[in-house]
């Protein structure tokens, strides 16, 4: 899939729940009995600090890309 679409970003597969646990996003999904992540967007500045974050409160909630880009632009555009 990545060869066809040439994604300009890294796709990481967090099977050991390393990042998920480090950020406190583990959710034990009751219907499938699986440990997955809460849907979240976390923006980190160049000093390694969290500049902005959004964690979904409903399973179907995903951030509007325009809103995410607005936050990213705050860090990128001087």
């Amino acid at each position: 899939m990545y060869k066809k679409n040439e994604l300009p970003f890294d796709v990481l597969c967090d099977v050991r729940l390393e990042a998920i646990n480090a950020y406190g996003l583990k959710h034990h999904e009751p219907f499938h009995n699986l440990d997955v992540s809460l849907p979240a967007n976390i923006l980190i500045d160049r000093e390694g600090r969290i500049a902005w974050m959004h964690v979904a409160t409903m399973v179907q909630d995903r951030m509007d890309p325009a809103e995410v880009l607005k936050q990213v632009n705050k860090l990128v555009i001087p």
Binding site: D14, A19, Y23, I44, V55, M58
Partner: protein, 135 residues
């Protein structure tokens, strides 16, 4: 007598219609962000459907009011329970917060290369998208 029965039946049909439209339309409007997160118009319709159905049954118990009313109650409660209870995620688990240091990690990317978050320090901002791939 007929008048009362017909009026009660009408309340029941309207109640069923409101519940059905309220519940089903949510899945067609799910692409609209504010509808998806709040389900406000759908909640209003589903509650209205509930109210109409209860009024219908209270006015007169007929096959229509009880039948349509029960179906309407099931649809409304099913929808409201799904969106406002079952689909809710826990909100009390936060290890990180804005302003704190982002925890480091090292995970393989799609090419098998290990990506260390701290390697981006000084180079530029990083956006982490925790992509939950299903409901």
């Amino acid at each position: 007598m007929n008048e009362t029965r017909n009026r009660a039946n009408l309340w029941a049909w309207v109640g069923l219609a409101l519940s059905a439209v309220g519940g089903i339309s949510y899945f067609f409007l799910i692409g609209v962000p504010w509808v998806r997160s709040t389900a406000l118009p759908n909640t209003i319709l589903a509650v209205a459907g509930l109210v109409f159905s209860v009024i219908a049954i209270a006015r007169k118990r007929t096959w229509v009011t009880v039948g349509a009313g029960t179906l309407s109650l099931l649809l409304s409660i099913g929808f409201l329970g799904s969106v406002h209870v079952l689909m809710r995620l826990p909100t009390d688990q936060h290890i990180v917060a804005v302003g704190r240091d982002a925890p480091d990690f090292a995970i393989s990317n799609q090419f098998g290369r290990t990506v260390q978050l701290s390697s981006f320090k000084g180079k530029g901002p990083v956006l982490l998208v925790f992509y939950r791939g299903f409901w």
